[in-house]
Amino acid sequence: MPEEFEPKIIGFICKWCTYAAADLAGTSRLQYPPSFLPIRVMCSSRVDPLGVIKTFLEGADGVLIGGCHPGDCHYVQGNYYTRRRFVLLQAVFAGLGLEAERLQLSWISASEGVRFAQVVRDYARKIKNLGPNPTKREIFL
């Protein structure tokens, strides 16, 4: 029997908000899929669109970028830049017919442990429905 598909999701999450929310979710014993792989970054604006593309092409089923809510950035303005970069990234994906749904940007503050678990659960379900990332099978990338 083939194993059930569990999407591998890479999360680039900011140290000050979303990562703290993940910690809170953990200490609060909240459940979320273990296939979510967090990578802590100092700010969501630290995430180069190129890194997201690389992650996507290397076969991640989903890429989640998490940062502080707009206006709450630890570095005051970082996440505003993130937002613009994400818009750019989505436009590039849409323009080439790539699956933009595999990319998500979420604002999760340090106190939102419950929300963090919920967002990851929802996102994982969505990606599960989408199926495995086709880049995994491509040879000529």
Partner: protein, 366 residues
């Protein structure tokens, strides 16, 4: 209404006269223009000598290098001490403005002479000696799209230059071979021309002929996009197109906007170590070596797609005949539309990724 300086001679000779005049009257120290090479090719050159101007072909329908690259090289450390004049195409000027925004050059002390451009031929055509100048000028005169020009030129509807001091009327100018009409867009342009032969008159600009050509180019652009269908490519379509990419990075090297001295993609960071290749074999059943041709294109799209002016240099230099330029033009335009941005329109407009507004894209992020 626009002021137009009219010289009663053919546009090519008129342009040479203009360049000679600028040099003779010491209004500029030198002019940057295409120059005919002994072997029949053309190249951009900085000319300071009036006698050399007879070999200048400022309007020759070829773009051996994007002039933005040339100007950036000259002004990287600051503007020239003495004024220079540059004859360049609208997209080249736009690319230069984008470079200046990125601190890769300076527009100070320049007289920009551009044209209502008829497009340029692919470099390959020139290498084969198949550029038919006479046919080109007939088409331009009649306001038609010359056959065989670059795909992105065919669909270019931004052939009216932004930021030019002087615009040479080409597209749809029926009296090209008898008259040289120079539209004076700025006071600076007018000052530089004072003393030149010819007379000033007022006329409607852009004229009817430009509007007609705009329409034709718009249709050609639609055709180009329909043929391309880039938004339907998806991963498999992209792999089909870029699978034959040989990672030579010529597109990036020819691109006026890819200015980084050290490109990340030229590093070994995008190679795998041997064990990874073998591991990928087991996982995927095969892997292209060297890998990562697609990430190069996607990376370039996120890096400079926002400023892509669609000059088509990249398509021209691609040895694998990949329509890089058309894809960048199309996707670039979609990206630019999201930010309501026209690259090279205005030096005062910031590159969208370097600024933000607090209240915008509020639907993004959930």
């Amino acid at each position: 209404m626009a002021k137009v300086w009219r010289m009663e001679k053919g546009v090519e000779e008129g342009m040479r006269e203009l360049l000679r005049f600028l040099l003779r009257s010491h209004k500029v120290q030198g002019v940057i223009s295409l120059l005919k090479l002994p072997d029949g090719g053309v190249a951009y050159a900085l000319i300071t000598d009036q006698a050399t101007v007879q070999d200048a072909v400022p309007l020759y329908p070829l773009m051996p290098t994007n002039a933005a690259t040339v100007l950036s090289r000259i002004t990287l450390l600051g503007s020239p001490q003495e004024p220079l004049a540059a004859v360049l195409r609208p997209c080249e000027l736009r690319a230069f403005v984008e470079l200046v925004k990125r601190k890769q050059g300076s527009v100070e002390n320049f007289l920009f002479i551009s044209s209502t451009c008829g497009g340029v031929y692919p470099l390959k055509l020139a290498a084969q000696g198949r550029v038919k100048e006479a046919d080109y000028w007939i088409a331009v005169r009649q306001g038609e799209i010359p056959a065989g020009i670059r795909p992105t030129c065919r669909g270019c509807n931004q052939f009216l230059p932004y930021n030019a001091d002087i615009t040479v009327k080409l597209a749809g100018n029926r009296e090209l071979n008898k008259r040289c009409d120079l539209i004076l867009n700025t006071e600076k342009g007018e000052e530089f021309l004072s003393g030149l032969e010819g007379e000033i008159h007022d006329e409607e600009a852009p004229g009817e002929e430009v509007k007609l050509l705009l329409q034709k180019r718009g249709e050609a652009k639609k055709e180009l996009y329909e043929e391309l269908k880039s938004e339907e490519l998806g991963l498999s379509g992209l792999v089909d197109i870029f699978g034959r990419c040989l990672n030579c990075h010529a597109c990036g090297n020819a691109c006026p906007l890819c200015y980084c001295e050290l490109c990340d993609f030229d590093s070994r960071d995008y190679e795998y170590d041997p064990s990874t290749y073998l591991a990928q074999l087991a996982e995927r059943g095969g892997i292209k070596v060297p890998p990562n041709s697609l990430i190069y294109q996607l990376g370039r799209l996120t890096h400079m797609g926002i400023s892509c002016v669609g000059c088509g240099m990249c398509t021209d230099v691609c040895p694998a005949a990949i329509p890089v330029g058309s894809i960048f033009y199309r996707v670039g335009e979609q990206v630019q539309a999201r930010f309501d941005y026209v690259p090279g329109r205005d030096l005062a407009e910031d590159v969208p990724l370097t600024v933000f507004k607090e209240k915008e894209f509020q639907e993004v992020g959930r």
